[in-house]
Symmetry: C2
Subunit: 344 residues, 2 copies
């Protein structure tokens, strides 16, 4: 394990700056003395876009590539047309750095409110494919703006792309106590892609005989996520279905205020990026109101990815204890960060 | 209004037969004496498929076309490979009869349990596009079964197809007290289709100045459906997003046991089809356990489509009263049907 971490920090827009500051605070507090943490801040997001028209240049990518990992706050602002920063920065980075494992854990922690009745036990991880599906930008438009316009979106799925993410999900399932993996797709309608996903899933399953598998259509999965969330352990799914069900998963397991994510290149050919699932929340930006918990939990994912398992566990433990003790006291972004930094 | 109804009845598989029988019972009970109800039963589904290899022939379509409407129980059985009946019957019929308005109301009725905490007021309608999007069967596979396989799915969206369903949704929103319409899409990522949907939506909105509109990404919509379902009035969305969110909507508003749907051709160029959202539930088939409520509510949609508004309201009223009075008594399929038939 390298005893230094060279981290790219992208605070981004809105509450991004505030939550990332707390993430770094906790990271500094949890790292052993001998680990040298170097950070470099980048100014991506709405401000840079307005000033220069740039979202993410080749030079930026070359620069970012030198780091061990990336911590991101949030990107997005109402002043920028919808899609520009999403496609020009977030998706561009996921594709450029081949972040094919989009990891999104959902755990209902003690003291956290869920919109679901009862207090279901929720503890699962979604492995969302990050570089294929309908996210490739494939497709087009003819006769735009006329009554004869036709617009297409092409979902592209490759055996190579599906197999590596399915394999990653099986390995994650095998490492968990319950060893369960669900494939979520819509193979009764999207038969070409569905056939590929299902076949690859079944093929790889043969190599993991101790993992219990099931298949579920995405529509049915949304029902189970609100009626029986406890049934899930690990889920593997495509880019778009993963986008949809992880927001739902975040909602049922305590809200996007505590939902963390990692955009991972497992082979470490490129730095992986860790970010809260929530957005930039411009309405509460700069007021010290934002909950940094999701960012801190993303730091835990980052630590685990870099091999600091014990430190990752300490961060998760600190969050869990802190949430359990929160009660109804309203604390500022900074106060929550301080409390977590003390606990680790 | 025609004083006769020529109805095609497709009981289908599993519990289909049982629930359709109750639907017809209630339909008979609610119709005025002078309305002549003629029904013809069709044997589509797993049995026919196993016996003849057919799912829905051209002759079947010509025959079905003669009716005023179609009432369907459920199609699907584990003995048939996934996708065969879905694509060979259900989707084939939706496309052949140009069922472009897939109408799915979600109303939390008194006495009905929701998995959500509290007792949110849920009363919205999803207008799902039914003949385009990723449901067209467009796409393909190369190098199938090899490590170089590529499978694509093409979402096809036309100005014609989008505009007619958006227009239908605006009209429905305008006719409701709250007059609100939300467009759900993912226009920040699926930019070609998203641009078309958003543009058409905004264009048609100008003709309905009294309807309040909003746009929401599909991932965010799943969050709101569990945290603030009361915010929705009418939703319009594409075929795949509609498939996903209507299952979630059914789950939060009392489960698929009470979720009705209509596959509608508004111009009545073809008969529309009405069906419960639930499937054939082979595990409980033939035991008199199935809840026919969703089928009975589908009969209400059928009545309204054919212009029998007062009768439709009486059916919905009967269901609402019955659900409120149900308590914990377990009743058979038949008993529930009898109770509803008496109440209308
Ligand atoms: C902002 C958007 C491009 C992104 C996605 O769709 O992947 C977001 O919703 C997410 O889930 O990270
Ligand atoms: C069975 C399947 C083809 C269908 C769909 O995806 O439309 C079903 O899920 C539905 O929602 O009616």
């Amino acid at each position: 394990m390298s005893r230094s971490i060279n981290l790219a920090v992208i605070p981004g827009d809105g509450i991004g700056q505030e939550v990332v500051a707390q993430g770094l605070k906790v990271l500094n507090a949890v790292l052993p003395q001998d680990v040298k943490l170097e950070t470099k801040e980048y100014d991506f997001g709405a401000r840079r876009y307005h000033a220069t028209g740039e979202t993410l240049t080749d030079a930026d990518l070359a620069d970012l590539k030198k780091h061990d990992a990336i911590l991101l706050g949030a990107i997005g602002d109402p002043s920028v047309p919808s899609g520009v920063l999403e496609r020009g920065f977030l998706l561009k980075l996921r594709f450029a750095f081949d972040h094919h494992v989009n990891l999104r854990p959902s755990k209902l922690l003690p003291g956290v409110a869920t919109p679901l009745a009862g207090q279901p036990e929720i503890d699962f991880v979604v492995v969302r494919e990050g570089t294929e599906g309908p996210y490739t930008g494939n497709g087009g438009t003819i006769r735009q703006g006329t009554e004869h316009e036709v617009a297409t979106e092409v979902s592209v799925n490759t055996a190579f792309g599906v197999e590596r993410v399915v394999r990653d999900a099986f390995a994650r399932a095998q490492a968990r106590p319950r060893k369960k993996l669900a494939l979520i797709h819509k193979n009764n309608v999207l038969a070409f892609a569905g056939h590929l996903w299902t076949n690859v899933f079944n093929k790889v399953a043969a190599e993991f005989p101790d993992v219990t598998t099931e298949y579920m259509h995405v529509d049915a999965a949304t029902i189970y996520l609100v009626t029986q969330p406890e049934r899930f352990d690990v889920i593997v799914t495509d880019n778009l279905f993963g986008d949809i069900i992880t927001d739902l998963a975040a909602a049922v397991s305590g809200g996007i205020g505590v939902a963390a994510s990692g955009n991972i290149n497992p082979a470490r050919a490129f730095p992986s990026m860790f970010e809260p699932v929530h957005g930039s929340a411009p309405d509460i930006a700069g007021q010290g109101k934002a909950d940094p918990t999701a960012t801190v939990l993303s730091v835990a994912l980052l630590l685990r990815h870099l091999g600091y398992d014990a430190e990752a566990a300490r961060v998760e433990e600190a969050v869990s204890t802190d949430l359990g003790a929160r009660g109804t006291t309203v604390r500022s972004t900074d106060e929550i960060g301080d409390a977590l930094a003390v606990r680790v």
